[in-house]
Structures are given as structure tokens and as C-alpha cells.
């Protein structure tokens, strides 16, 4: 095996750490505490909880990858049906006569209770009066609820009940009478609203809910997992991952095989890059050319938009708007504030686009002559493809989301401008020139497709094919789902011990609720969970290592790429609250033992063994040991390049 210069090795390690550090920190950050939250918002109320082997419950968020214990159950829970569907309208709202009768009864009960004579010293009579009055108050709340359902709420509600809607004043203390008169005058409108609400109630009862669980694994690709009562897939075998890390399950064995294969591949990759750079570059050529072309297209669009935005006018306009915001003239202050908010938002998006002109240009330049750059620098250098393209692809997605709001903002500015003086209108109109608006419209139409294209190409380069494949697996699996209606929801529980998982797997539980009548997607939430262990646990791993003997001839003391099999013990604090716990989980330190295949002497097979430590889930490792073949001590450092090197293995390596 060819030797590597120590300085190059250190530079290589630094680059890897820069590239992989963010991802690892994000993954470890998933073990930070999260704020309990019921997902679903205005859609289908539900929550996802992890129930550990001691019965402790932890609420998970749809917005982040949560670290969960491999021996837990993941459960999506739903509240009672009554809380999911809107309550039907009271029968009183079927016809006007019913409404008038109901209001008369309420008013009569109100009068009777107010006139009831009760001796305050008679506790039984007082208690009965309190109960009756409390019931009447509950009826008042329910009346307001019904009115809301027929479209009478907010200011309109007070206007109707106070009599103002009828042109009456000083009539607020007769709300039942006011409402009866108003309902009589507006019965057609009320009836339409009542029917619309009834339809909503009926269609909501036709919502169907499905839950799917997907496992994504570096070692096995995507696969669907069984959830009791929610799909017809066969139940998985009981195969809990061993907490000591010494008895791997089948899935764990696959992960280790994968790590070994990746570690061997990278050792080979490094040698390939060093000895066969031309072949390595050729393998990159096509994909990088596509990436360059897309970055070029995006650069041109960014430049077009940025040059039509007159940012130099912004400070003056903002000063004008600030002074108008203090105005006491009705409507002016609100209009000025609204325009200011929207202008700042538009300015922020254009600024991001302006900043990304340089990123796009940098990527184009970087890829202009890839053959003149060291492949490892090109990929992993400080301003290499990984850093630049990742930033550009991420920003592009953000820009796509933000530009959706721009037409509404421009419309809102146009409306608010009517309230302002002509000279301010003129200045704002200069900023939002027709040229800028036209460019923006064109940009809004074209850019999402280009951003998607960039993300796709970058996804391929990053070996994100796994995610796309996962989507296909989910899409193709609908036939085995058991849909539930919302009056028949049961908890969707996934037992991780029966799911054939390996540490580091990503398990996604996906909830979808669809209105069968309207076709509307009521809810779509995905909960991502990374499989790990909480508390003390062992974890087997295969590491790519760079080892050298501490003594001996030149061939023994050179750093060389090798592979080591290790078992490391870690301790994870679940959802830590103090900074020590958070830092500990972030570092995820481990200590253990290893066996290494070495290349320090003349034997065809050399074996070493010793102790090792690791940080960031094995991202950075080091160890000392004894080479049994040459009978000398050795040291090693290593990095877990699993993701990057799997990419290398599948996409780039040329043999």
C-alpha cells in the first residue's frame, strides 16, 4: 500500500472534519431537549411520542430528527373524535322559527333566574341558584359558538348582540332580543352559513388517515416497517439491538459489513486519487459539468434580479415611512408600517439573492477547470464543491420558499400606498419599478425549476439517491395500508425491537389525512427518528484508520491507511437540560477496544490490537495497540467517513 505524507494526511483529515462536522453536530444536537408540542396545527390534532422500556414518554417534533432509544416504541396518538371534527350546529338553526323559539326560551330563563328570590342564608337554595345560573352561562357560551359557526363572530358578533347592527344604541343589555330581530332580518344569509357548516362537518367525518413507517439505512436502503392495525405487512421478528454491542443483530451485522466495505474503499480511494488522478477526474467529469451548467443558469437569474432592485433608494424611503408611521392621520400610520415591513422583506430576499451571485459564480469558476485541481481539494477543500454547492443548494431552496410571498407583498404595498402622500408613493414606486416587477415575475416562474434541478444534481453527487428511493418505496406501498376514518383512530405504534434495525438507521413515521370528499390534504407530517441508545451502551464500528508503528524501519513508521474493527462504549444523556449534558451528547465520547489489519512489515497479513477512544460518534478516533506480526507498538488516528466514503464508493471510485 502506498504511503501518505503526514502533512497531506493532516490536511485531508481537516477537510473531512470541516465537511462532516456540521452534519455530525446536527445529528448529535437531535439529543437536545425539545419543547413538547402537539403536531397538526389546524389539521388533524395528534402527537408523536417515544415510550421507552420503562414506560417514560417523550414527545417528538415533526420539524427535527429526534434521537430515540432502539428499545422504545414510537407511537402516533390522536385525541378523541369529538375534538377532531367540528361540532355540528345545534338543531335550533334549522329554521327561523326554531331560532326565535330558542332565543325566547333563553330570555325567559334569564328573566326567571334574575327574579328568583333566594335567601342567602339557605345554602341549598343558593347552591341550586348558582348551578342554574352557571348552566345559563354555559348556554350563552354555546350560543356564541353556534353564532361563530354561522359566520357571526368578532366585531360582527358584538354589533349584532348590542343592537348596533340594527342601528340601535344603548341596547347592549338586551342581546337575546337584538339577536332575534337581526336573525329575522338576515335569515337567508344565516341559513346558507348553517348549511355550509353542516357540509363541513359531514365532509370532515370522511377524512381518511394513514400512517406508514419507513426505515432508511446506509447498509440496506429504504424499506417499510409494519405498524399494527395500520398496514397488512407481516410483523417483524423480535430482534432487539444488543446494548453491549457485542452480539450484533442481522441488521447490525449488515451495517458493520457496510462500514468495513466503505472503510476499505476509502483506503483504496485515497490510493486511487494518489496514483490514478486522471481516471478519478474522468469519472467526475459528467456530473460536475451538469452542476456547473446549472450553477451558471442560476447565476444569470440572480444577477438579472439584483441589478433591477434599487437598493440605494431604500434608506430614504424607510426614513420617510418611519416619520409617517408616527402620523395621527387615520390609516396613514398603519399603511406606512405595512409598506415598511413588506419592503424590508423584499429587500432581505433580494439581498440573499445578491449574496448568492458570488456563491454561484464561485461554483462555476471552481468547476471551470476541474482537471487542474487536486480532486480531494476540489471536493472537500475549504471552498470546495461540498461547501459551495451545499450552501447554494440550501439557499436556493430558501429563496424558492421566500419568493412565494413576494406577489402578495407587492400587492399589499400597492394597496397601502393609496393612503400616503404622492411624493412618498413616487419613491416607493421607483423602488418597485415595472422592470423589477417583471424580472421578479419571470424569476418566480423559472427559478423554482432551476433550484430543484440544482438540488437534484447535488443530491446525486451527494449520494442522496437513498431519499428519492425512500419516496418511491412509500409511494408504491399504498396498497398495503389500512386507512382509518377519524371516528376510528387507534394509536399507531411501531415497536423498534421488532423492526430489524441497526444503530444509526433513520426511521420515519409519516402521517397523512385526506378529505375523501374534497380531496383536500388535511394533514401531512413526517417524524424522523435516529436509532441510538440512551444511557450506557456499546456500539461496534469499523473505522478507516491511519496507523504507524512507534519504532522500526522507515516502512513501519510511515502513516498508512488501514481498517480497524472496534467496540466502543458510550453514555448518552436523554434530552439534557444543562450545558454539560448538551456538550457531552454533542461530543458523544466513547472508549473501547479494537483489532486492526496493518501494513507495517513484510507479512502479507498483519494483525494488531489495543485500546481506542472516539469523539462525535466515531467521526474522530484514535488508538494505541500492539502489532503482533512485527512485535511493535503502533498508534493510529481515524475518521468515520461512512457517508462521504459511501458516496465515493458508489459514485466516484475508479478501479
Amino acid at each position: 500500500m502506498r504511503a501518505i505524507q503526514p502533512t497531506k494526511l493532516l490536511a485531508f483529515l481537516a477537510m473531512i472534519l470541516v465537511a462532516a462536522g456540521c452534519a455530525t453536530a446536527k445529528r448529535r444536537a437531535a439529543m437536545q431537549p425539545s419543547v413538547p408540542n402537539v403536531g397538526g396545527g389546524a389539521g388533524l390534532p395528534h402527537q408523536m411520542v417515544e415510550v421507552d422500556r420503562n414506560g417514560n414518554r417523550f414527545t417528538n417534533q415533526p420539524t427535527r430528527v429526534e434521537a430515540v432509544d432502539a428499545h422504545s416504541r414510537l407511537i402516533i396518538e390522536f385525541p378523541k373524535r369529538a375534538e377532531i371534527a367540528p361540532a355540528p350546529l345545534s338543531q335550533d338553526w334549522k329554521d327561523l322559527q326554531g331560532v326565535i323559539e330558542m332565543l325566547n326560551q333563553r330570555a325567559a330563563a334569564y328573566r326567571a333566574l334574575n327574579e328568583r328570590k333566594v335567601d342567602p342564608r339557605d345554602p341549598q337554595a343558593v347552591k341550586q341558584l348558582q348551578k342554574d345560573a352557571s348552566d345559563a352561562a354555559a348556554n350563552a357560551v354555546s350560543l356564541l359558538d353556534d353564532l361563530e359557526k354561522v359566520g357571526v363572530s368578532g366585531d360582527k358578533l358584538t354589533a349584532v348582540l348590542s343592537g348596533r347592527a340594527l342601528g340601535l344604541t344603548n341596547q347592549a343589555r338586551q342581546p337575546y332580543l337584538n339577536l332575534a330581530v337581526w336573525a329575522t332580518n338576515n335569515w337567508d344569509q344565516l341559513r346558507k352559513q348553517a348549511e355550509a357548516h353542516q357540509k363541513l362537518v359531514e365532509s370532515t367525518s370522511k377524512v381518511t388517515v394513514t400512517v406508514q413507517a419507513l426505515r432508511e439505512s446506509l447498509s440496506g436502503g429504504p424499506s417499510l416497517l409494519h405498524i399494527d392495525d395500520w398496514d397488512t405487512r407481516p410483523e417483524g421478528a423480535f430482534s432487539p439491538i444488543d446494548r453491549t454491542g457485542l452480539r450484533p443483530t442481522d441488521a447490525e451485522q449488515k451495517r458493520l459489513d457496510m462500514e468495513r466495505s466503505a472503510a476499505e474503499s476509502v483506503a483504496q480511494l485515497i490510493n486511487s486519487v494518489q496514483t490514478n488522478q486522471d481516471g478519478f477526474r474522468a469519472a467526475f467529469q459528467t456530473k460536475l459539468a451538469e452542476l456547473k451548467a446549472e450553477a451558471g443558469r442560476i447565476q444569470l437569474q440572480f444577477e438579472d434580479l439584483a441589478k433591477n432592485w434599487r437598493s440605494e433608494l431604500l434608506p430614504t424611503v424607510l426614513t420617510n415611512l418611519d416619520s409617517l408611521a408616527a402620523s395621527t392621520t387615520p390609516g396613514v400610520s398603519d399603511a406606512a408600517l405595512s409598506i415598511k415591513t413588506n419592503l424590508l422583506a423584499i429587500g432581505g430576499i433580494v439581498q440573499m439573492i445578491t449574496n448568492d451571485v458570488a456563491a454561484a459564480e464561485g461554483l462555476v469558476n471552481l468547476l471551470a477547470n476541474p482537471q487542474n485541481v487536486n480532486p480531494l481539494d476540489l471536493l472537500l477543500g475549504n471552498n470546495g464543491v461540498t461547501t459551495t454547492a451545499e450552501k447554494l443548494a440550501t439557499d436556493a431552496q430558501t429563496i424558492v420558499q421566500q419568493i412565494q410571498t413576494l406577489p402578495q407583498r407587492i400587492q399589499s404595498i400597492a394597496t397601502s400606498l393609496q393612503a400616503l402622500a404622492p411624493e412618498v408613493r413616487e419613491r416607493v414606486t421607483q423602488m418597485l419599478s415595472d422592470e423589477f416587477k417583471n424580472t421578479l415575475t419571470e424569476f418566480s416562474q423559472k427559478f423554482p425549476a432551476d433550484a430543484q434541478s440544482l438540488a437534484t444534481i447535488w443530491g446525486i453527487v451527494q449520494s442522496s439517491i437513498g431519499s428519492a428511493a425512500a419516496g418511491e418505496v412509500l409511494a408504491a406501498a399504498d396498497t398495503k395500508l389500512i386507512p382509518h376514518t377519524i371516528d376510528n383512530l387507534v394509536p399507531a405504534a411501531l415497536d423498534l425491537k421488532k423492526s430489524g434495525l441497526a444503530l444509526g438507521d433513520l426511521v420515519t413515521m409519516k402521517l397523512r389525512a385526506t378529505n375523501a370528499i374534497t380531496g383536500e390534504l388535511v394533514e401531512s407530517d413526517s417524524y424522523q427518528n435516529e436509532i441510538g441508545f440512551m444511557g450506557l451502551h456499546g456500539k461496534p464500528a469499523i473505522h478507516l484508520i491511519f496507523a504507524r508503528s512507534l519504532s522500526g524501519p522507515h516502512t513501519a513508521t510511515e502513516w498508512k491507511a488501514n481498517v480497524a474493527a472496534a467496540v466502543e462504549w458510550h453514555y448518552t444523556i436523554r434530552r439534557p437540560e444543562d450545558s454539560f449534558g448538551k456538550t457531552w451528547n454533542w461530543l458523544y465520547p466513547g472508549a473501547g477496544i479494537h483489532l486492526a489489519s496493518l501494513d507495517q512489515g513484510s507479512d502479507s497479513f498483519e494483525l494488531g490490537a489495543g485500546g481506542n477512544v472516539s469523539l462525535w460518534d466515531g467521526l474522530l478516533t484514535g488508538g494505541v495497540g500492539y502489532n503482533f506480526s512485527i512485535k511493535r507498538e503502533y498508534v493510529w488516528v481515524g475518521v468515520n467517513l461512512l457517508n462521504l466514503l459511501n458516496t465515493a464508493k458508489s459514485q466516484f471510485i475508479t478501479k
Binding site: 333566574l113 334574575n114 333566594v118 342567602p120 343558593v126 348558582q130 363572530s153 358584538t158 348582540l161 342581546p175
Partner: protein
């Protein structure tokens, strides 16, 4: 206005608070406020409720201390059940629900 404090006094409020057959809602502000209109509507919808328009907040310092609520809800005794801020007191549904909850306890 018969329920305004002043001219009514702290003692008048206290008398009603001591009466277990009435719940009480105090609104702090002026007669033209939407919050007072809400208090009047609540009075018209819910029986056995007394409402007071408090124009001098020191008159109710005994119950609210140095706080500055816009609405003060009592149940069947003289214990403050809930205080409402200005925007809460200006929302009819919030006011009615608070009074209903106070009466149910």
C-alpha cells in the same frame, strides 16, 4: 351610569361580592370602550351577574393590588377568579367564557 365607580364606592362592590347569589365582573375603563359594551352584553346574556364600570382603579386596589387589569372576574365570592388584559376584555367570547368558568367553580 348606575354601576359606575365613582359615584359608587368600594363598599358597594364589596356588598355584591359578599352576596353568594351574584357573580361579579368589573371593567376598568370608560363608558365608550368596547370592553364595557362587552360587559353589558354579558350582563344581558348571563343571569345573576353584576357588572361595574371602574373609572378609578384605586377603588379596587383591595383585589388587584398594583396590577392594572382591564377586566376582573369574580365567581360567587370575593375571590378574584381571573384578570383580563385590555385586548381580552375587548373580546366578547373571552369575557363570556371567563365569567362562565368563574360561575362553574
Amino acid at each position: 351610569m348606575a354601576e359606575s365607580v365613582p359615584p359608587l364606592t368600594t363598599q358597594d362592590i364589596e356588598d355584591d361580592l359578599q352576596n353568594p347569589t351574584f357573580a361579579v365582573y368589573l371593567y376598568v375603563g370608560s363608558e365608550d370602550d368596547p370592553g364595557w359594551e362587552n360587559a353589558e352584553i354579558a350582563f344581558g346574556l348571563i343571569p345573576r351577574l353584576r357588572i361595574f364600570l371602574i373609572q378609578d382603579i384605586t377603588a379596587i386596589a383591595k383585589w388587584v393590588g398594583n396590577k392594572r387589569p382591564a377586566g376582573v372576574v369574580f365567581g360567587w365570592d370575593d375571590t378574584v377568579f381571573q384578570m383580563l388584559n385590555k385586548s381580552e376584555a375587548a373580546d366578547l367570547k373571552t369575557v363570556i367564557k371567563a365569567i362562565q368558568a368563574a360561575m362553574a367553580t
